[in-house]
Amino acid sequence: MPRARNPGLNRGRASALRPSAKIRAFPVPGQDVTPLLLSSFTATTCLGRGLDATCEALRHGQSGLQPCAFETVQLPTWLGEVGAIDDERLPGHLAHYDCRNNRLARIGLETDGFAGRVHEAIARYGSNRVGIFVGTSTAGILQTELAYRRRDPLSGALPADFDYRRTHNSFSPAEFTRDYFALKGMAMAISTACSSSAKVFAAAARQIALGTIDAAVIGGVDSLCLTTLYGFASLQLTSTQPCRPYDAGRDGISIGEAAAFALLERADEAVAGDILLQGCGESSDAYHMSSPHPEGLGARLAMTAALRSAALDADDIGYINLHGTATPANDAAEGKAVAALFGKRVPCSSTKGATGHTLGAAGAVEAVVCALALQQGWLPGSPGTRQPDPKIPIQYLVDTRPAELRHALSNSFGFGGSNCSLIFGVVR
């Protein structure tokens, strides 16, 4: 199949810090900003399995958060738990991957006809030309936590049935996905905490732009585990109520879990209504391991880089899906960055009051939320938020409302100061 001369998407970078101009020693593909097509996408969260359930809840301002009743966890917090994950059984040839995280991955792949679309792409391009890029923060570490309760009382050994590589390791959801589709080419997991599955879009876009692959299965899978539940509690970052993003009284996150995937391809044959990835911007805070830069400097660099990558101005953006975790520090810092770039002109919301903070899956989930908003002409509100913080001067949407828009921006920021902003558009 002939390839477009410049089939790619150019990623933006933090311009203030960009090294001085370099001599180009060879032609650089991707200098033209050519969007890529999300030819299929799906999300499974506590709102339900698939796009219809997600739309239904978001359009009606519903939340899937429930008081914590996960495993043996005893914490005064609310969770976005996906129902009936543990009823799943992986097929025999994938049984060694069995753990909550990969069960959730399989549910995600088999929702909305996503796996079928991937099989069609593999038939079109070949099993070595479809890449796998999966974001996760904790993969299947729950399996290790459970195995530590079953150590041999004499030797301390972990049980024989525990498979570190295929459950715990950060690569396990990516390797599971590669084996699920019997693929033979490029695969990698991206694990940058809560920006993981936003950054998969950028990594896959680079490879498609360079022609090393023709399509990519990208996504995020993160599932509930004791490490994150007790960990965020230890940082005093979990709320005792359903989280209230950008609320004046916000006091912490509600942790969720999710699997969300997209199939990314060149956009040569895009038709009206199709969703395009138009820009990616990545940056680092270089500030603190678990606190955002107080002025939102890294966030601002990521959004600026995404706009430049998409060759768009701030005025072109019709909606921003905020990272909006509902911690006092995150929303204040992100709000400063958004206010500096967009003022009060652009409607913004965090959908974490609906889904919970799905950590390494949040970027992919919120990419899907942006895609739905663009396709269907509505802007999601913010379940849980009662009084938007008057100290954050942005146009914060509490209630879902109809709106036609062309471009949406999604923010994802993680521990270690990892920032990624994505811009999506709809073909009119």
Partner: protein
């Protein structure tokens, strides 16, 4: 199946400007060069991890072995190329995070008192070393953090080269691995700390060691004739890079195949500067 492309203009290419290296018995790149060139024999010894002097005191106290490893690798490569780390995009590639921290968390969460320490929690993320690198160097450029189990070096090289070519900027690739204590060690037996850093540039510089280009292949990976070095190559995932590093140490031209994800391997053409 032949996955090698017939296209002779491989899109993934860069100049290697410098190397940072730490492995058991090989404390830095000059030491590794001497052994890779056959000038000295490899002698088994525990990996040596320099103190992370760039970190502020609070973070320095909390720095684990894997953080010390990644920082030392990256700084050695930046120093050899006289590059300011603050200006560099980075790709961190590791087969696992901090194994000792993970063990401590799992042990506590299996017991009666689950009130884990906040520092243990934020050090548990796969991108902890990358986060400390940012704090130490003030680098606000994009920072990628990858994992592909035993194929992590290859994944890092694929994304690092793609960034160099797409964005026309230098990228510092830092690939590193560390050990788990028991009982996880019985399930994942990486023996010690080790890794490699490579500063990849879009154009030749005064420091460039070689030009490299990467193609997929299904050919078996090159092995090292020295049994000690071959043992390191297979024991520490980041050291799957050793056949490439041997060419860089010797200044020799040639083609090497590195292990990636079966059946996909990475064929790398090396042309010294």
């Amino acid at each position: 199946m032949n996955m090698a492309t017939t296209n002779t203009t491989a899109p993934l290419r860069a100049w290697v400007d410098s190397i940072g290296f730490i492995a058991p018995g090989l404390p830095d790149w000059p030491a590794a060069c001497a052994v890779l060139r056959g000038e000295q024999a490899w002698l088994s010894a525990p990996g040596i991890l320099p103190a992370p002097g760039l970190l502020p005191p609070a973070e320095r106290r909390r720095a684990s072995r894997v953080v010390k490893l990644a920082l030392a690798l990256g700084l050695e490569a930046a120093t050899h190329a006289e590059a300011d780390p603050a200006t560099l995009a980075t790709v961190f590639a590791s087969s696992g995070a901090d194994g000792h921290n993970c063990h401590a968390l799992c042990e506590q969460l299996a017991g009666g008192d689950r009130q884990i320490s906040p520092t243990r929690f934020h050090n548990s993320v796969h991108n902890a070393a990358a986060g400390y690198w940012g704090i130490a160097t003030h680098a606000m450029q994009p920072c990628q953090v990858l994992c592909a189990f035993d194929a992590s070096f290859g994944a890092g090289l694929l994304d690092g080269l793609a960034q160099v070519v797409s964005d026309c900027v230098p990228v510092l690739l830092i690939a590193y691995d560390s050990e788990y204590p028991q009982p996880l060690h019985a399930k994942r037996d990486t023996p010690d700390c080790g890794g490699v850093a490579m500063l990849l540039s879009p154009a030749p510089t005064a420091h460039s060691l070689a030009a490299i280009k990467l193609d997929p292949t299904d050919t078996a990976a090159d092995r090292l004739s020295d049994a000690g070095l071959e043992g390191l190559r297979t024991a520490i995932p980041a050291l799957r890079s050793l056949p490439l590093l041997k060419h860089l140490a010797c200044g020799s031209a040639g083609t090497v195949v590195l292990d990636y994800l079966p059946p996909m391997q990475l064929r790398i053409d090396v042309q010294p500067c």
